[in-house]
Amino acid sequence: MSEEKTGLKGATILLNALQQEGVDVIFGYPGGVLLPLYDALLDSPIRHVLGRHEQGVVFAADGYSRVTGKVGVCLGTSGPGATNLVTGIANAFLDSIPLVVLTGQVPTSSIGSDSFQEVDIIGITMPITKHSYLVKDPRDLPRIIKEAFYIARTGRPGPVLIDLPKDVLAEENVVPFSNEMKLKGYKIFGRDNNGKIEEVARALSEAHRPVLYAGGGVVTAGAESVLKQFAEKTGAPVVTTLMGIGSLPLGHPNLLGMVGLHGTVTANYAVNDCDLLIAVGVRFDDRVTNGPGDRFATNAKVIHIDIDPVEISKVVRTDIQIVGDARQVLEEILEALPGFVLPDVADWWDQLREWKENHTLNYDKDRLNPQMVMECLGEIAGGETIITTDVGQHQMWVAQHYPTVNPRNYASSCGLGAMGYGLPAAIGAQIARPEDRVVLVTGDGSFQMSIQELGTIAQNNLPIKIVLLNNGVLGMVRQMQKLFYGERYSQIQLQGNPDFVKVAEAYGIRGIHVNSLENVRSAFEEAFKHPGAVLVDIKISEHENVLPMVSPGKVITEMIVR
């Protein structure tokens, strides 16, 4: 009697399960233990984008997720492939980005023997994943994949890692178990807000100087339009975190800008002076509070709305706590509002306007400087453009001066602050949304941490526009050394910088040098007209500073402005 072949290969079961979850693209990099998977990939409709470094593939998956709201998927081989993913996993964890990270692992029989390219990636990433799985039986794959996606995207999103031993991928003739989830221990918090919605509405009606403080949770929940309604209805001004950029379009009359370390003067004054702070999808990060939370918004009644109960009262004392989805909670409060008198905010706005007029973000408009570049870029690019950034001064100049960002059109490494994020994130964004324009704003230091991904751009003909604010230094570090270390500059010069235009050209990417203010606009116009990728290398002075800036350890109103 011949044995009937009814089952599938482990790797095929995995790919089928990914397809069931709606995965259309995997960002990855192959290796020995992944051979069965890369072989099966040839027969799968799922697209695979080959990066040039595993850190690039995980950042790309992250960028993909931020501009779509979907779960990003990346793949790396065992050992060095897996460890190269670690920074990207931490990045997604700190910014609550849903990722499913697949890693190859040595065969189950070799685990624990320090075999070639074996590392305990589950152990290494335990503190920076929402959850993780080591697959020991290929029949579990459909369930594990389903659970992983569910965990990654629900509640407070985050990265989930699945470690895949080679034999699990290679096993033939596998008849899988059901994909029914077994997640008794997984809790999504929220819902029961008994009476608290009314409490918030009452607090609002009693307030004279309310402020809405919006963060990444607003974006995650898709609460942008509700937030806008809420602000317009109540007249409350809005300040955002770095993660909250895009939660209200810049230029909206209620928006005071970013709050915190490099926030606008008006935003910081408003938070310090308000009598009601409604914090939505934020975690009172120290980049906002500038130190322990006990001197933050001290004059205010504080309402904290967040999906994660762990964030409630972690940093700042709060008066009303609501655990739940930002959109749902804001909608409920809006519904409750008609029963209450709305706050009279006329005097408050007189004050806010006065601050705004006296403290514009001012800079010299007659020479080539980064602020001008950002405003010009914004004018030409418009709100439909997706913008990704790296980490450093240029990131803050985007946050302060880039004029319009629509929801889900912004990707930046906020919580981790990982240099090298921007270029691969732009790749992920462009792959996710091929019809939309993607612009990366980077610095000469950060760019060189992921410069190899120009190869990925070239291979996939991605029309990404790269704006390089080239100051020849690690500008943000230089700025700290200037302001707080008596101008003792240590290891910030990047003298070995290449001619970046030539580097781009070597990859078949067009490069444009910009050395003067007059050429900025025409360079952007040319870049946007060109159908392919373009690098615009803009030489700026190393002496530029990101201002305003709150002094270390000071209350957020104590800002260095000039």
Partner: protein, 159 residues
């Protein structure tokens, strides 16, 4: 203040490290931790005694609840519970001290489970203050070794 948390977790490898890792990472202090399978073989019960003010304990509970492998967390502190710890204690004895030591063991209702030429080993069960008191009483005779299980606790049934 010490709190006793009863934590129901999945009975899988790697669960202990997830829980323990959380404590070290967040800087919470574990006073004691016991873990064993429950009446349901798929679940283990951890009894964790942790030190902290109310706010810290709330954070610990929330953080634990967030772990996918944790099914439930309850704080038994202030509840009506039966709690016990088991200790094995090796004490030095000589002809002069032997009877005094044995008398002390008797008073605390301990049991001698092993005997050497110069020492005895005592098994003692009780709540933590009782074991602490025994250790204090026996120490002057020469405390050679002390092994404690950590506290286990269960809610008293409603009558």
């Amino acid at each position: 203040m010490l709190h006793t948390l009863a934590v129901l977790v999945e009975n899988n490898p790697g669960v202990l490290i997830r829980v323990a890792g959380l404590f070290t990472r967040r800087g919470y202090n574990i006073d004691s931790l016991t873990v064993c399978q429950t009446e349901d073989p798929e679940l283990s019960r951890m009894t964790i005694v942790v030190n902290g003010d109310d706010q810290i304990i709330q954070q610990v509970r929330n953080q634990l609840s967030k772990l996918v492998v944790v099914h439930s967390v309850s704080d038994l502190t202030g509840e009506s519970v039966v709690d016990r710890e088991l200790a094995l204690i090796r004490v030095q004895v000589s002809t002069e001290t032997r009877s005094a030591v044995l008398q002390t063991v008797d008073i605390f209702r301990g049991r001698v489970v092993d005997m050497g030429r110069t020492n005895i080993t005592v098994e003692l069960t009780g709540d933590i203050p009782k074991i602490d008191a025994f250790v204090r009483a026996i120490r002057p005779y020469g405390l050679l070794e002390l092994v404690r299980t950590g506290k286990v606790a269960i809610l008293r049934s409603e009558t």
